[in-house]
Structures are given as C-alpha cells and as structure tokens.
C-alpha cells in the first residue's frame, strides 16, 4: 500500500513538473513573440521617422540653397550696377575734361555711325559742350570715312543741340536713318550686350 502511494505521488510530481515546464515554455513564447513584434514595430516607426526627416531635409536644404543662390545673384547684380554707375561717372569726367581720349572717342563714334548708315551725307548732333569739338573734327573725318567707305562722304554739324552726357547722334541728311551713339545709348548697349564679359572682368579670380 505504501509503495502504491509513493508511486502515485511520484507520478503526480512528474505531471506537475511537466505542467510547470509547459507553462514556462508558453510564457517564454509569449515574451519572444512580443519582442519580435516590438522589433517590427520599431523598424516600421523608425522607417517613418527617416522618411519624414529625409523629406524635411530635402525641402529645407533645397530652399536654403535656392535662397542662397538668389542672394548671390542679387549681390552680383548690385555690384554690376555699381560698376555701371561708376562707369557713367567716369565717362562724364572724361567728357568734361576734354582730354584727347574723349576727342578720339567722339571721332570713333561719328565714324561708326557714318559707316553703319546707308548714304553719303550725314548730320552730326552733339551737346553744347561738344559742338565745337565735333565741328573741328569733321573735315578730317570726312577724308577717313570716305576712304574706308569707298565713297565721297559729307559730314555737317546738325543745328539741334542734344541734352546728353556726350557722344553723338549721326543721321542721314534726309533724317530717315539715325544712329544713336550718345554715351548713354552706348552705355546701355554695352550693358545689355556685354553683361557676360563685364561680369567676367568684375568677378575674375573669385573663389568658390
């Protein structure tokens, strides 16, 4: 009898042990599954964070760079305008000084206008200050231009007086064609047509 009781007790103990082990296994499984699921959640959430960050970074940095480019362009444009303004001042100084540089310049401007226009008889218009300078140059210029153009050229001083920094307007005697070679017109033309070259000189040597 005692032996039987011991056997039953032993069997119960084994059964209890097995139940405990199963429970522990089950508990461990619940935790492992939870950890695996948590890992998947973390990965998913981190991916969302990375996507938000990447989107933000792309847009914000692109905007900063764009604003920077605009700022640089504005500064370059401003510096170009300063150079143009200073050039206009310098041209005024040269014209007022009556130096040979200006006299030679006026002659080139008359010659250019006469060469560009069709015809052989031209009137030259200038401001009050330059009228005498122009008048004194006409005979000599007629010879030079006639030679270049291969025709007998007649130049005369027009009666109207221009309000200009300097330079001339060349027009055909019949007034049908006109070439504006005043300093303002020349400066505007140079600014418009040579902005690339001017910027190149102005920015020469700038390091990125």
């Amino acid at each position: 009898m005692e032996n039987l009781k011991a056997q039953i007790k032993f069997l119960h103990e084994i059964e209890a042990q097995e139940t405990l082990e199963e429970a522990e296994e089950q508990a461990q499984k619940i935790i492992t599954e939870a950890e695996e699921k948590a890992e998947r959640i973390r990965k998913q959430k981190m991916q969302e964070v990375e996507e938000r960050v990447s989107e933000k970074e792309t847009s914000e940095l692109a905007l900063t760079k764009l604003e920077g480019k605009k700022k640089i362009l504005d500064i370059k444009s401003q510096l170009l305008e300063e150079a143009i303004t200073k050039s206009a001042d310098r041209l005024r100084e040269i014209a007022d000084s009556g130096k040979s540089t200006y006299k030679e310049g006026i002659e080139r401007l008359i010659a250019e206008g006469s060469m560009k226009l069709k015809g052989n008889e031209f009137q030259i218009l200038a401001n009050q200050r330059d009228r005498k300078l122009v008048k004194d140059s006409l005979r000599e210029l007629e010879k030079k231009i006639s030679k270049t153009k291969g025709a007998s050229i007649v130049l005369e001083l027009g009666e109207e007086t221009l309000t200009t920094l300097g330079g001339v307007i060349v027009r055909t005697r019949d007034g049908r064609q006109l070439f504006n070679n005043t300093l303002e017109a020349r400066l505007a033309k140079v600014r418009q047509e040579m902005v690339g070259e001017i910027s190149k000189v102005l920015m020469e040597g700038v390091k990125d």
């Binding site: 508990a27 959640i41 940095l61 250019e112 140079v190 000189v201 920015m203 020469e204 040597g205």
Partner: protein, 72 residues
Amino acid sequence: MAESKEKARRILQDAQTQERYDAIFESRLREIEDKKKLTEKDINEKIGRIKKTATRNLEKTVSFIVGQVLGE
C-alpha cells in the same frame, strides 16, 4: 503566465510609444538646422569673397566698360 503577458504588453507598449520616435525626429531636425546654418554660413562667406573680388576688380571693370563705350 499572467506575469509573462504583462511583460509582453509592456514590451509592445514601449515599442509603440510615440514620444520616443518624436524625440528621435526632433533630434534629426536639429541636425538639419545645423546643416542649414552651415549652408548659410558657406553662402555668406561666398558673398564676402564676391564683394572683395568685385571691389578689387572695380577699377579694371570701369576701364573695360568705358573703353567699350568709347569704342576703344
């Protein structure tokens, strides 16, 4: 068993806590701000170099423009 379920619940809750990811996001935003500041600094330095160069080249540029205007 109840203890394990409670532990599993805490593990999942911890993984789902939004504050943790918001904190990471905020930290990354600060990194972006730093990059922006660095970019702005680069731009300002470049502007400084441009101004310096233009000042140095102004006289040469004026001579070039005047020469073009006078047809030299």
